[in-house]
């Protein structure tokens, strides 16, 4: 689960990690008020769940009220698009007004779980304020990755090692120590899946400060972090994804024309790959999940049909617990309820009661092709191209 920069910074502050002074504005008036509180010199930053805001003009150092008004007018309530959001846009409801910092050096600091060493890792780089993936591929020696021992957490000598790697003076040990221990505690206490400080800066007062902050949380642990769940901003998320998630359906909106309904995440990805290899594009990822009954199947189909781009719906069920006849009835229910022209259907059902399922579907007026396996799906899709 993602949260906004201003929320992340509030958390950092709670865990003893220094951040610049700032206030959050939800409208032009408060923004201007806040701006004046900073002696009319501040950095304005749109708050959206997307990276690359800077390049897209969403971050600006402003030193007069007129520019602040202009910034507010330009963004508040409007859609915002960065190279990372792609074709999608997210609405700007909040703008952070932040004290301007004088930067002596920009660094990178992150915590995340590395599946390869089964532990939390601290990632540090003296090259901050830039795309860390680029640093990693061009100057891998500029990236320091440190697995944290599960019993110990970060230790003093590790902090000294990072201090050294970041080319920071030894006198800054206690500042960095406090930051790293604070970040680790935050990571553990709140079940984060990523904390990324980019850049972490040294300012002209010899203070180490988190100038930007991105935190994401382990969704599987939200049940024990109610305070974090409350930070969720639904305005930044896809409506259909929100609705299906409530039903236990894993749906991710994509941009193609072939909707798909699959049971199992792996088979769903494979199905998307089959669509792509046939020269078409998947409109979504959809794993119907466990315990699917007629209603849930129907809702999954409705979600796919609600996407205006969808021309073909591909159903690929490998029945186990899920009975195919039940699924068939669910699909018909959703198709009947749907307003637009029914799409072309490609159905592959295998397992429990699959023959009955196919019989039920073939007794309808819909345009259905049945496939026995993935190869046949490919062939049918290719003929549609």
């Amino acid at each position: 689960m993602k949260i906004h920069e201003y929320q992340s910074k509030k958390l950092l502050n709670e865990f003893g990690v220094p951040v610049p002074k700032s206030t959050i504005a939800t409208d032009k008036e408060t923004l201007l008020e806040n701006f004046r509180d900073f002696q009319s010199k501040a950095v304005l930053k749109v708050q959206v769940h997307a990276g690359g805001r800077g390049k897209a003009g969403g971050v600006k150092l402003v030193d007069n009220s007129q520019d602040a008004v202009e910034f507010a007018d330009k963004f508040f309530g409007n859609l915002f698009q960065t190279f990372q959001t792609g074709d999608e846009s997210v609405v700007v409801n909040k703008i952070l007004v932040e004290e301007a910092s004088i930067i002596v050096s920009e660094m990178y600091l992150a915590l995340l779980v590395d599946g390869s060493n089964q532990s939390i890792n601290i990632i540090a780089s003296p090259e901050g304020g830039t795309d860390i993936e680029e640093v990693a591929s061009k100057n891998p020696e500029k990236i320091f990755s440190l697995p944290v021992n599960t019993i110990l957490g970060p230790t003093d000598f590790h902090v000294r090692e990072i201090l050294d790697f970041l080319n920071l003076d030894k006198t800054l040990f206690s500042q960095l120590n406090k930051i790293i221990r604070g970040l680790y505690k935050l990571y553990i206490d709140k079940d984060c899946s990523l904390i990324e400080i980019n850049p972490l800066i040294l300012n002209d007062n010899n203070e180490i400060i988190a100038l930007d902050a991105k935190i994401t949380f382990d969704e599987d642990a939200l049940f024990r972090n109610k305070d974090i769940s409350e930070l969720r901003d639904l305005s930044q998320e896809n409506e259909v994804e929100i609705k299906t998630a409530e039903l236990g359906i894993k749906y991710v909106q994509l941009k193609g024309s072939v909707g798909c309904i699959v049971n199992g995440a792996g088979l769903a990805m494979a199905t998307m790959d089959v669509i792509q290899s046939a020269g078409l594009s998947p409109a979504n990822f959809l794993d119907i999940g466990g315990g699917a009954d007629e209603d849930k199947v129907s809702k999954a189909m409705s979600a796919v049909l609600s996407d205006g781009n969808v021309k073909i719906v591909l159903v690929n069920l490998f029945g186990g617990i899920l009975r195919c006849d039940v699924a068939a009835r669910g699909f018909i229910l959703a198709l009947k309820d749907s307003d637009g022209t029914p799409p072309k259907l490609i159905i592959r059902m295998q397992g429990t009661n699959s023959e009955e399922g196919k019989r039920i579907l073939s007794n309808t007026k819909y345009n259905i092709s049945f496939a026995e396996n993935l190869d046949q799906i490919s062939q049918i899709l290719s003929s549609e191209e």
Partner: protein, 291 residues
């Protein structure tokens, strides 16, 4: 770490009184698995299916039945405790089906299982099955499997069934099929299972099914290179069509950085001598070419 399962595998089902646990316990018994007990705290003394005794604790259940394996269907918030209880009761192989366990819990559990030499499979996995031994510890539909000499290892459940279905329909039987699970941290990795298959005299060839996210496939490739493996391996990686930064169902299936992409993984496995499956519909066909 041993993945050998057979008649001597005595299984306790943790969470047997739950809907899913009960359903799959029965399917396992039907298949031939030796389920010796169930455990649900607070339900001790009940009988499941009129034949299986339910205990309050794993300590009691293992003590009374001599079980060596456990199969876990406990809901995510309680599953870490169930795994630990299993480990501390002396169980040597733990299969955890439960999906949605917090990663921070798994870091701790992984370390403990590892320290104590316990084989943990999963979480968020379909389990494992040996068709020749008629032993299934998990949730896969038993009827698609056929005894034979191909090992299958995968991060995904239904994709394992897809692969097995293709194999069986092509007349290729399986020695052992293992779903390692779709989470970022799992107890048993590709390397552990490959290592078993490569040493296993009942296995002549391997189907390897990976997906986007993480670097587990690359590590497997490194391992295969390091041991100069000669057993034929057909490798499929799914998720080439998925965009970066979006989680595709599995908690571990999200691309962050180049190494998480399907191409990187395919490249690494090809370098390690695997035959890459180009289309998910051609798993059996690809394998046939190399065995």
């Amino acid at each position: 770490m041993s993945l050998k399962i057979d008649d001597n595998t005595k299984v306790i089902v943790q969470g047997i009184t739950g809907k899913e646990g009960g359903f799959h316990a029965l399917r396992c018994i039907e298949y031939g698995t030796n389920i010796v007990a169930g455990v649900t705290p607070g339900r001790g003394g009940q009988m499941f299916n009129d034949t299986i005794k339910v205990y309050d604790s794993m300590k009691e259940a293992t003590h009374e039945t001599g079980a060596n394996t456990s199969l876990i269907f406990v809901p995510a918030p309680f599953a870490p405790d169930a795994i630990l209880e299993s480990i501390y009761s002396g169980i040597k192989t733990v299969i955890c089906i439960t999906e949605g366990i917090p990663v921070n819990e798994m870091i701790k559990i992984y370390k403990i299982a590892n320290d104590l030499g316990v084989t943990l499979i999963g979480p968020n996995c379909p389990g494992l099955i040996n068709p020749a031994q008629k032993c299934k510890i998990g949730i896969m539909p038993g009827d698609i499997f056929m005894p034979g000499r191909i090992g299958v290892v995968s991060r995904s459940g239904t994709l394992t069934y897809e692969a097995v279905d293709q194999l069986t329909k092509s007349g290729i039987g399986q020695s052992l099929c293992v779903g390692i699970g779709g989470d970022p941290i799992v107890g048993t990795t590709f390397i552990n299972v490959l290592d078993y298959f490569i040493q296993d005299e009942e296995t002549d060839g391997i189907v390897f099914i990976g997906e986007i996210g993480g670097t587990k496939e690359q590590e497997a490739a490194e391992y295969l290179k390091s041991i100069n493996n000669t057993k034929p391996i057909a490798a499929l990686i799914v998720g080439a069509s998925a965009p970066e930064g979006k989680r595709m169902g599995h908690a571990g299936a999200v691309i962050s950085g180049d190494s998480g992409k399907a191409e990187s993984k395919m490249f690494a496995l090809k370098e390690a001598g695997c035959e890459i499956v180009i289309h998910p519909g051609q798993i059996a066909e690809t394998l046939k070419k190399i065995i």
